[in-house]
Subunit: 144 residues, 2 copies
Amino acid sequence: MRLSTRTRYGIRAMLELAENVGRGPLQLRIIARRQDISVKYLDQLMTILKSAGFVRSIRGSKGGYVLARAPEQIKLNDVFNCLEGPVVTVECTENENYCARAADCVARQVWTQVQEAVMAVLQSITFQDLVDRTKNNKSPDYQI
Amino acid sequence: MRLSTRTRYGIRAMLELAENVGRGPLQLRIIARRQDISVKYLDQLMTILKSAGFVRSIRGSKGGYVLARAPEQIKLNDVFNCLEGPVVTVECTENENYCARAADCVARQVWTQVQEAVMAVLQSITFQDLVDRTKNNKSPDYQI
DNA sequence: TAATATACTACTAATATCGTAGGAATTGGG
DNA sequence: CCCAATTCCTACGATATTAGTAGTATATTA
Ligand code: FES
Ligand code: FES
């Protein structure tokens, strides 16, 4: 149950874009440098995020990436699902027919519980929330 | 974030032992047949569970495995940890020094939240709970 | 001693992860 | 028009992990 770098990098890249909203396109090169990720690898991740409709790209000079939707409309769960795949994949939670006695199986119930707990957290957080959290972290003056 | 068969099989094997408490040792062969797992593979899993102190083994004829502790004293979280490794491993949640700006990083905060959610579920369930659930599933007469 | 179990070690096929590499296509600016 | 910057696309490879298989040694009971 370890997260892939794909997911971790992808979400951090999305966060960079969320923080850059309103300032035009952000280049791979910049994101990669700020987040310490290989440009070429990030390149591939952005392709995934693009085809999933989370980001838009502007080609050519002065191009880059922007979020396709407002940061408050993108839940972490969506992006997670896109990069990491369905949360906690145990075949039988998705497909009743996978195991013979799925209806009674308590193990399956447990994995469903875990799955729902993870999804609840990720669904409750948007990228705007993360941007706000970052601001709070960076300006402790505003805290009591 | 997909569970390994190691974890899934291991927990199901532990559940078999929990259901067998008080009836002497249970053989690999039996567990493997009931849970549809390769005997030899299960063999290795039991070695892990044994060295972690969750089960005891009785060698030789009429031997087998028993739980090392009472089912109500073994939390799912313990066994999970032993088989799957630390819940949601993102290095920086464990090791502050892994990422440079770990203190401020909101991504890290998210993974910590997810981690805690999973652990909360797994820590709230013991093998005795699972045994009870199984009974309820198998005798719906007792339900209102 | 024979049958039944666990214990231990080694090997393997398949798959996924985490990149690296190179070049094609597109765009903006001089 | 040309150049630099940038995304787009495809292929490759090294490494690690997973999910077993296989064979043999050791212990126990009857
Ligand atoms: S239903 Fe799939 S493990 Fe029980
Ligand atoms: S601290 Fe590790 S990803 Fe931010």
